[in-house]
């Protein structure tokens, strides 16, 4: 592959080395910080439920989802860090690599790597937390008959979240992908204000969509909004019409729109990078 090619593994390696050497401490600190934070919260949960029940693998799920959202916000949202200051942006844009290679490395390090490593970090934190709890239990013997907490098992997470309807499954998966994708594109649109502005944008967009849906529903079905002693929304039936058995058109349309949002986030990021001037 010659140097005019838009994608060369050697240059990808150069970019990864550049990123690692520039921010090695940040990466190591992020991993240790995440593990320590999880251990802290797990200890709090274990101890606060001590007298009532044994902590089982299923109870981790809410923490996992919350942690995933925080990860998308705090780590994926730090995409294109070099473009945040003019001096570093000038240096980054002049690095001999194509826009596509720079974009790919950002996707790899800010989206793929955190999403792959988070389950491992979560599992490791749960193992360490259980060991820590058991160690403390040996000294203070506070667990009594309830026993020590269970370590997080991926199988429990997959089984309990399985949805039979493939469209609904795709919709849930799309929503899980949409949050990091939006935070990723926010990194290049909002820069250092991304951590605040993108969540506000998502919330505003969500409220607008919800409000406009309710307004439209109210225009078409005046009974859907009741102005009595308290305002109540009687949602019209969204299960109909269906495009195939158990697949309402609204769910299907939402699923398509969400996946388009995921895809377009990356398209917009790429073109913002190619058009970036310093």
């Amino acid at each position: 592959m010659n140097s005019t090619s838009n994608f060369q593994i050697k240059r990808i390696g150069n970019l990864i080395r550049y990123e690692w050497m520039s921010r090695k401490r940040v990466y190591l600190l992020a991993v240790t910080g995440l593990i320590a934070l999880h251990i802290f919260f797990f200890q709090v949960f274990f101890l606060s439920n001590l007298g009532s029940m044994r902590w089982e693998s299923e109870y981790y799920h809410a923490v996992y989802i919350l942690g995933f959202i925080v990860l998308a916000w705090g780590i994926v949202g730090q995409s294109f860090l070099d473009l945040r200051e003019n001096k570093s942006a000038s240096l980054y844009l002049r690095l001999p690599a194509s826009h596509f290679e720079k974009f790919s490395v950002q996707c790899l390090l800010r989206v793929v790597l955190p999403i792959i490593s988070y389950p491992l970090i979560f599992w490791l934190a749960s193992v360490l937390s259980v060991y820590l709890f058991e160690l403390a239990d040996l000294i203070f013997a506070f667990s009594g008959e309830i026993g020590s907490p269970e370590v997080f098992r991926f199988s429990s997470f997959i089984v309990s979240n399985a949805v039979n309807n493939p469209v609904v499954s795709l919709l849930i998966l799309g929503m899980a992908c949409l949050i990091p994708s939006l935070m990723f594109v926010g990194g290049i649109i909002f820069g250092k204000r991304n951590l605040v502005l993108m969540p506000i944008s998502i919330l505003t967009f969500y409220l607008l969509i919800t409000a406009s849906s309710l307004l439209l529903a109210w225009i078409v079905f005046p009974d859907s909004l009741v102005w009595s002693e308290q305002v109540a929304f009687n949602f019209p039936n969204i299960d109909q019409p269906e495009i195939s058995p158990d697949v309402p058109i609204l769910i299907f349309a939402c699923m398509i729109l969400i996946w388009m949002g995921v895809f377009l986030s990356y398209v917009v990021s790429y073109f913002k990078l190619t058009e970036r001037e310093v």
Binding site: S5, S90, R94, A97
Partner: protein
């Protein structure tokens, strides 16, 4: 090698900085890019390096459009900006290890040799250096990349007097004939004996673009107690009058005084068009 055609550029909500600017530069030149503050020297370098895009017209380097920022274009370009962005937590060696793989023709031995000339210890952290020392590291790195186009923005800013001498020596010793170096500066004395071509920017145009050898063939620079006849430009100082006049046949060549030439161009006494109109090749 560098071809700029019909270039127009302006920053948002500001008047045009360049209008219908045309410029060509052959490979292997050391160009002094001069201009007053705000004339657009740094912007010109940024346009050449593809960091900003022309509003109209094209900028090409070795046949590649700078705005595409293709890897081929970027690996043959190194810019030393006026304001540096260095990973201050890294040592010089680590910085080299991190950045040099991007430049296939990087010469590590040359880099260490220039660092030695600049009296820079490669094992120290960049954050421990002064601004001038950091600049020397980047200048040494730039000269070692062997890139075909080097753009230095105010390279002698922050350098002490011995370092300026070392810088001139390093440039003269380490630049090959295929490499082009553009030095944007307002400190004309610092680059006077280094450049072989001078470009002066003013009012959004290239007011002067001349080879220094041709200039010293055509013009004579001197100083007298009173201004001689047939001068193009004169400038009084405490010692007398500095002047520029057409060089006559058989007269010895004089070194080009860049400062005087710059002032002459700014006053409108000398420009590309005046030089060609007057056909100041009287030596022929």
């Amino acid at each position: 090698m560098i071809s700029i055609q019909n270039l127009s550029f302006s920053y948002p909500k500001k008047s045009a900085l360049f209008q219908e600017l045309d410029w060509e530069c052959p490979a292997g030149s050391i160009v002094g890019l001069l201009g007053k503050n705000g004339a657009g020297k740094s912007t010109f370098l940024r346009l050449l390096s593809g960091l900003i895009f022309p509003k109209e017209g094209t900028v090409q380097v070795n046949g590649r459009y700078s705005k595409d920022r293709s890897p081929d274009f970027l690996q043959e370009l190194f810019v030393v900006p006026d304001e540096l962005a260095l990973p201050l937590h890294l040592s010089v060696s680590a910085y080299t290890k991190m950045t040099s793989p991007f430049y296939p023709a990087f010469d590590q031995a040359k880099f260490l040799s220039i660092l030695e000339d600049f009296e820079i210890e490669p094992n120290l952290k960049l954050g421990d250096f002064s601004f001038g020392q950091q600049k020397k590291v980047v200048l040494a790195f730039a000269l070692s990349t062997n890139c075909k186009l080097l753009l230095f923005d105010e390279p002698t800013n922050g350098l002490d007097i011995p370092s300026k001498t070392s810088f001139r020596k390093a440039v003269a010793a380490n630049l090959s004939e295929e490499q082009t170096l553009i030095l944007a500066t307002h400190l004309v004395k610092d680059v006077e004996n280094l450049i072989d071509r001078v470009v002066i920017l003013a009012d959004g145009k290239v007011k002067l673009d001349q080879d220094l050898l041709e200039l010293s063939d055509r013009l004579s620079f001197g100083m007298a107690t009173s201004a001689p006849e047939n001068t193009i430009y004169t400038e009084k100082n405490k010692l007398g009058v500095q002047f520029i006049q057409p060089r006559v046949s058989g007269e010895n060549q004089t070194p080009v005084s860049l400062e005087l030439l710059f002032n002459a161009v700014m006053s409108g006494a000398v420009s590309n068009s005046i030089l060609s109109e007057k056909n100041l090749a009287s030596h022929e």
